[in-house]
Symmetry: C2
Subunit: 659 residues, 2 copies
Amino acid sequence: MAKQLNKQLGRSSVHIEDAFWNRFTELVRETVIPYQWEALNDRIADAEPSYAIRNFRVAAGLEEHPYGGMVFQDSDVAKWLEAVGYSLANHPDSELEHTADGVIDLIALAQHENGYLNTYFTIKDPGKQWTNLYEAHELYCAGHMMEAAVAYYNATGKRKLLDVMSKFADHIDSVFGPEEGKLRGYDGHQEIELALVKLHQATGEQRYLNLAQFFIDERGEEPNFLVEEGHQRDGYSLWAGGKRPVPTVAQLAYNQAHKPVREQEAAVGHSVRAVYMYTAMADLARLTGDQELRAACERLWNNMTRKQMYITGGIGSTHHGEAFSFDYDLPNDTVYAETCASIGLIFFAQRMLMLEAKSDYADVLERALYNNVVGSMSQDGKHYFYVNPLEVWPKASEKNPGRHHVKAERQKWFGCSCCPPNVARLLSSLNDYIYTASGAANTIYTHLFIGSEARFDLAAGSVTVKQQSQMPWKGYASFEFTEVPGGSFTFALRIPSWSKGQAVLKVNGQITEYTADNGYGLATRNWQQGDIAEWEPQLETQLTASHPEIRANAGKVAIERGPLVYCLEEADNGAPLAAISIAASGVLNSYFDDQLLGGAVVVEAEGRLDEQDSWREETPYRPYAKQQASKPVQLKAVPYYLWGNRQKGEMTVWIRAVK
Amino acid sequence: MAKQLNKQLGRSSVHIEDAFWNRFTELVRETVIPYQWEALNDRIADAEPSYAIRNFRVAAGLEEHPYGGMVFQDSDVAKWLEAVGYSLANHPDSELEHTADGVIDLIALAQHENGYLNTYFTIKDPGKQWTNLYEAHELYCAGHMMEAAVAYYNATGKRKLLDVMSKFADHIDSVFGPEEGKLRGYDGHQEIELALVKLHQATGEQRYLNLAQFFIDERGEEPNFLVEEGHQRDGYSLWAGGKRPVPTVAQLAYNQAHKPVREQEAAVGHSVRAVYMYTAMADLARLTGDQELRAACERLWNNMTRKQMYITGGIGSTHHGEAFSFDYDLPNDTVYAETCASIGLIFFAQRMLMLEAKSDYADVLERALYNNVVGSMSQDGKHYFYVNPLEVWPKASEKNPGRHHVKAERQKWFGCSCCPPNVARLLSSLNDYIYTASGAANTIYTHLFIGSEARFDLAAGSVTVKQQSQMPWKGYASFEFTEVPGGSFTFALRIPSWSKGQAVLKVNGQITEYTADNGYGLATRNWQQGDIAEWEPQLETQLTASHPEIRANAGKVAIERGPLVYCLEEADNGAPLAAISIAASGVLNSYFDDQLLGGAVVVEAEGRLDEQDSWREETPYRPYAKQQASKPVQLKAVPYYLWGNRQKGEMTVWIRAVK
């Protein structure tokens, strides 16, 4: 039943119409998708060429060129197509659909007779298929193309890419598996697992779910496939272009393949790989009822979000391997917090919400979405952060090699361009993250407060609800029921962590009691057509402290306002920002500044500026007793997601607190 | 005249007898030199073999083995021999001298007919001499052996190694120079320049001084020798073992060869290379009267010590290239601050003092010596820090790859073992750093307060003075004149920066006025035999703040007491240390703890400990308003040079200050 309902709660059943989010979804539709199309076709001046479409033309036999780009370049085309699918579902566009159909025709031409599809191994390394799962991203690329196929099919009803990818999935199923003669292997970069779940849901084919389960179950088992495979290749490394030591089992923590997934206790290794895997694990736990897998998901979720997550929803604190380091190690300046990792965290959170409606999952989803993810994209949609720092000193980014990875300005399309298309596919499918519903329990859960019109099929009958939201600026959303079933059903509203449990429900203007359960306010009643529910979670500007074990933030506070994390920028507060402290018990004023980058609430706070004038250039250190009184100063904080859109300068989220 | 006097102020004219320093000089003599001898002979269990002596035996034709160790492994033998020379000068030891003589015989056997001497190019790459100055450290190794030769000759009067190295210097002089047919080149790693100055002083040979001047003058000139040489080798790289891009002129900032030395404005590149070069520049400025070179020295000194030096006297803030990064970039946790770089800084400071007695040079010399350098060695003399951090979180050193270079524990002899023998040669020649004298001006300058007996030859006649010092624990040193000339002379005493200009002079018990000049208290009088001068610079425990541009230290203070920087260790204060703050206007108590690692003054301070009990494991972030009051706590700080000698744990120099 749940499965069926999930299908009915498909992409077309929720449409966003929201003052805050429309600009992003329009940006994706009007700018990002067309711009990325140009990028995939190597037509962006001054940016590294992608070669992604050219590779498909070459693989299809239409042109002759050497292979271009990374080994996983195909996935950029896939992510673009997936975004196009979501976009078409929400906003039909015949010209864009025509372009996408052309790409799909090209992809079909590049497919081998037996179903195999990968331009790298077609053009550059034919005959070497499935010999380097550790490095070559073959199943990863396949997974992204499966996601694209499902999104495009759901949007347009066109089966061509779905059939191409089903044929490829059948081929993969004939190559991998526990049976004698098949490879007991899996990809070095998880992705196909969650994609096969989607393909299973779109096609109804049970074998695809089984194959996903096989990849998850096999991972990290002894003898370790990736180690054995390395010996088979005699240590040949694609990246090094020569022989390299075969990784040890311990080193495979990078790929989360150091031990069986059910035994993994903490988030380790490459953060994107990790969250893509956890997403598939949560899918499988839901669809198969595997309690052990569910327990592993909860354990990994808890470790990651409670001990290894930045306040912005960023994960992965070191650029060495784009990886998790260890509990409470969250440096703000040498940070990684890759955009793709937060997107994967959002996928994982969504699947956990499908397992169990618990506000913790939605709180984290919202945190990552409104801060790390949206902040990664420039206001023009053409520049992106890979790395999302919480503290930036532009000179250090330039001149200290340990911070070269932290850019002070968003960059154009990258050589390894995973993040921009990932942002596009997330934002164009944002409608999928607002609600979940339990048809059997006749309950609709509202996770995000984003203006939209949604239709749900419950056991009791159909519900259509129109949400209007003033978030993130005000703690107010209203829900008008324009279609209701005959009987009662439960409308559940998330009580955001930032409201500190203070949220008022009104029904038709009357304050109404509700039952709080798992972080949601539940109103079960015989809802009538035209009923209006208003939801007012307390949304205040507040200072936030972090756990004492997070050494990087000791003595510091961050400014938060509802789902938004704020930051200080040099543009508003001068430099060095480190000379500024904030009055911990001072007044925090907020107001909407419609001149600021499309309009945003800014926060003003009482602060102190360390006295600097008495310092001479020639004195690096001097008695503290010489320090003169700090001066009172008005601080201006802007939402983190807007940082770096005005001028290159310092930025900080965490600010020293003074009494 | 100056030159002659410098010679008379040779190593044998100052003998240390000091409560604080004897343990270090004895440690070097009794433990470090013998231990390093074992290391050079590959007899330290569990440590990487050195192969340094074995290479010489192979090069001498006595044994057959492949070359072992780094390309500059010869320099370890040289630095050991140099330390032995200094040690023998202060403390004759026939057995040690016999061992050293044997090594010298071996070195002589390894010398080529034409004077060339280098085991790497003798054993591993014969015929490739002088083809890779950029990488191969040939002149660097030569320089270290010249320094050893001079030290050994000065100590023992034995000329064998001096002759060997003079012959090599003659050969080098025949290969390098501005003349047609010679290489207009220089080494990728500066060292020979300062060594040739020493060889010139020991032998009186002017050509060696000229050659040093050539190397300095040629460096960074266009066309760039290191670039040209790279093209000649067709990009062959010794380190990579294959072809690599030839460095650009800009990249040669690493080697301080990006522009002529006289045009260099700021300290850049590999920090040890830099300070070795500056040392030679200061030598040459003094010996040749080159004012332009002197101005460059002063400019580079000022930039380095005022904007790129840690409070511990550490320099070079990034491990990427063991290099300077840029002004005010002094991170405490990802720091480099290599031991060898601070030793080179001490060399440079000594030469600047020889140019001009200015207390700034001695203040920095003292800072680096009493903190970074002495702290690099364990109390057993057998374990060393390469990297001298100002903040350590052992778990981060283990688990965050960006901090792997920062060790929480001193290590045994290293594969690349530059630091331990460098410490040994500095500490065994410490007597050379206490005084300088201007014979013509009849002035003796006292830079360091270290108990010793010293003899000076001034124009007025000979002076012998016996210093007794209670530093670094108390601001007291006395000077008894046991031999005086007939006329008057000036006895100058450094007014340490930490005394804030407060220093009392007593002569024979009577407070006596003095003239303050360039940071020295000058007492010119007709000193009588038996006169006793007492010098009492104010030595108080104080809190130190750092320049607002040093972002890493914003809002923090360090504890200093005289020349010593203090730190908090987990052993005394628990963890996380970041939860601790210090009362900026609180009382600072200090007392001598004779149980602490041989006895040291510890500092107790009033502090606050952030409340931690109300935090739950599952809450990474929460409203600051929930924060409960911090608790008063007694902090215990120990001298930085003693850190890491008790247990592995957190350490921090900079402490958050609260009012």
